[in-house]
């Protein structure tokens, strides 16, 4: 391009400007990359801990149980049962029998019990996935030198057994069934409270509320509640559900007090607390869904003489429902991942039995992750990583269903 003659002090500085443009373009792009890299690092870090070599020693040497030259691993169910009976106290043996009669248990199950209860392997060293893949020889050498009696195995901390076993204090035999069931119980009560109330409030605000100062306060208040730190809800839950409403939340007024529960720190309290927490989110999402239903549909209904509620119930709600459900699922995923309020409400640190009523003590998946993360031993970090994977899979499937719902119904209007 021909040079524009320099008029009255304009300098042709385009090269410098373009250079600046390129530099900043790169900076903006790099920032975006940082976000993606962070996500990848987060995932890899979890996967890295969830698999790898473990060196463990038996507290009781299995060789001592060799009968007539038949090693433990090859003994049949009867032999194993005899062993179990002789090594366990009668109380413990009977308790196991009560949980599931031995006649009905498989040989594998009994063998598992012997490993858990009698041999009791103890983790002595843990390696992450990366060193386990790249430094196998060094790992073998270390184990041979430092823990000559230890077994070295490549394990996946995330297994089917891990998901279905109750919590125990032994890393190798711990599982998250208790926590998963606790999460499900909790979420059930969360939904029970937050869904009807949330949708009701959204209908009120969108369809009934006139634009006066009072309804504006309700709306503003809901927006503000959505921004209150979750731990504050925990404190509120502690004061209201655990303490003030203890007769209700501990099941006392129903005569259903869980003998192991001292107070209102129950599944019910936890669920209701999370219910309050997600209520504003559900309301806001539902309002948006209701607002997306076209005016013309309401007019058509009113035009044939329907009442307000008939219009809402037969036309507005059915059409808004996919949106409401999507919003609810997203709110529920938030609740499933919450940790802090439940710690304050009083999640139990170690329970190995499944919750079986609203008045049971509770733990949840995130609480379990928190407790394992806070343990100094590496094997518990691996357990935490495995449970994070369980949690993320759970959340991912929830979110995927929300996205499916949204896409399925989004082309309605």
């Amino acid at each position: 391009m021909k040079e524009k003659e320099v008029i009255q002090g304009f300098s042709n500085n385009l090269n410098a400007r373009n250079r600046k443009g390129v530099i900043w373009h790169i900076i903006f792009q790099a920032s975006t990359l940082v976000g993606i890299v962070a996500l990848i690092a987060l995932m890899l870090n979890i996967v890295n801990s969830a698999f790898g070599y473990v060196a463990y020693e038996a507290r009781v040497d299995p060789d001592t149980f060799t009968v007539d030259g038949v090693p433990l691993e090859e003994q049949n169910k009867e032999q194993l049962l005899t062993l179990l009976q002789s090594e366990l106290s009668r109380g413990a043996y009977n308790k196991l029998n009560n949980e599931e009669p031995f006649e009905e248990r498989s040989r594998e199950n009994v063998f598992q019990l012997i490993v858990e209860r009698i041999i009791r392997p103890k983790v002595v060293a843990v390696w992450d996935l990366w060193p386990s893949l790249t430094q196998v020889d060094e790992i073998r050498a270390t184990v041979a030198q430092d823990f000559p009696t230890a077994e070295l195995d490549f394990v996946s901390w995330l297994t089917y057994d891990f998901v279905t076993r109750p919590q125990t204090s032994e890393a190798l035999t711990a599982g998250v069934r208790t926590a998963i069931l606790g999460s499900l119980w909790t979420i059930f009560f969360t939904i029970l409270l937050a869904f009807p109330v949330g949708v009701g409030a959204a209908i009120y605000l969108e369809e009934y509320a006139s634009d006066n100062w009072f309804n504006r306060i309700i709306q503003t208040n809901i927006n503000n509640l959505a921004g209150v730190p979750s731990i504050v809800y925990g404190i509120l839950g502690l004061a209201i559900f655990v303490r003030t409403l203890e007769p209700l939340t501990s099941g006392e007024i129903f005569g259903l007090v869980d003998p192991t529960t001292a107070n209102g720190r129950t599944v019910l309290s936890a669920g209701l607390t999370l219910g309050l927490l997600v209520l504003p989110i559900i309301i806001i999402n539902a309002q948006e869904a209701i607002r997306a239903v076209p005016r013309s549909l309401r007019n058509a209904s009113f035009g044939v003489g329907a009442t307000k509620w008939q219009t809402v119930w037969s036309h507005v709600l059915p059409n808004a429902m996919p949106g409401i459900l999507t919003g609810t699922i997203l709110a529920v995923s938030r609740a499933i991942g919450e940790t802090a309020p439940l710690v304050v409400v009083g999640a139990s640190t170690a329970i190995s039995f499944d919750p079986e009523s609203p008045f049971s003590k509770f733990t949840t998946l995130p609480i379990q992750i928190y407790q394992w993360t806070a343990r100094p031993q590496a094997e518990f970090q691996s357990l935490a990583a495995a449970s994070i994977l369980v949690l993320l899979v759970l959340l991912l499937s929830l979110n995927a269903s929300a996205v499916l719902l949204r896409n399925r119904f989004s082309r309605r209007f």
């Binding site: 509640l225 404190i235 004061a239």
Partner: protein, 310 residues
Amino acid sequence: MAELTDKKTSTISLRRKPRWGESIIQGLLFLSGFLSIFITIGIVYELGKEALLFFQMPEVDLLSTITSTEWKPHVNKFGIWPLLTSTLLTSTIAMSIAIPLGMSVAIYLSEYASPKVRNTLKPVLEVLAGIPTIVYGYFALTFMTPLLRQIFGNDTVQIYNTASAGLVMGILILPLITSMTEDSLSAVPRSLREAAYGMGATKLEVAVQIVVPAALSGIAAAIIVGISRAIGETMIVAVAAGAGPNFTLNPFIGAETITGHIVRISGGDLSYDSIDYNSIFALGLFLFLVTLTLNIISQAIVRRFREVYE
């Protein structure tokens, strides 16, 4: 025939009939809406009541709470400063990551990225935003802390430290800032961009000197919400920032934040009406008031912003 005449002679009533069903339902819906007010009242009342009890305890006095630099419940020292400084420290570190990165990403997405790139990147940010904070806590402790220790040396960086928690919190808040900022950037009318391009501005000049200033109030709102989120964030600091109040501005040593302290205290066996029990209500009330104020400011800014462009 008879029916017809009947209808003619009897006056058709257009008067309002009482519809009990409708009224009951409307009442229930109103109660649902009103519950949210009740939650707020509940928070203020319950937290206020116990916080008041806290300050009425013989061991506590308001003056030393706001002046003392020691929070040691076992020797009855309740100075808020150590909890406050570490909360400020983690929040500052988080925001110094989240603001520049979040704004850069938002500018990239709204001004530079092609629709295809935008549509792939936004879900990534949504995923980042949907990950539970305890997972970020795990990430801080098992990834960020070892990384910091490797860079700055094990002697400088303690296992628990506010830097690690703050940095990871920055990543947590990044998607929030990005999506709010991007919303306000894309709300800037196209005509404004065209005006600038028409004057021969470069893409950078349009983005940074025209679009960003026009979206400034939305961006300010995003930043304020981000700060409020950082102050209230709990699990990352509970896991990675350290247990035990510590009056320090050194980001490499452990120091407990307000939220971290609440979690640690209530994780143990809390007996009702103990000074610990009451103290978490006082701290909770403080958190509530601070974050509420920030959120109200941010919403007021957003409302003003809307009025300009709609």
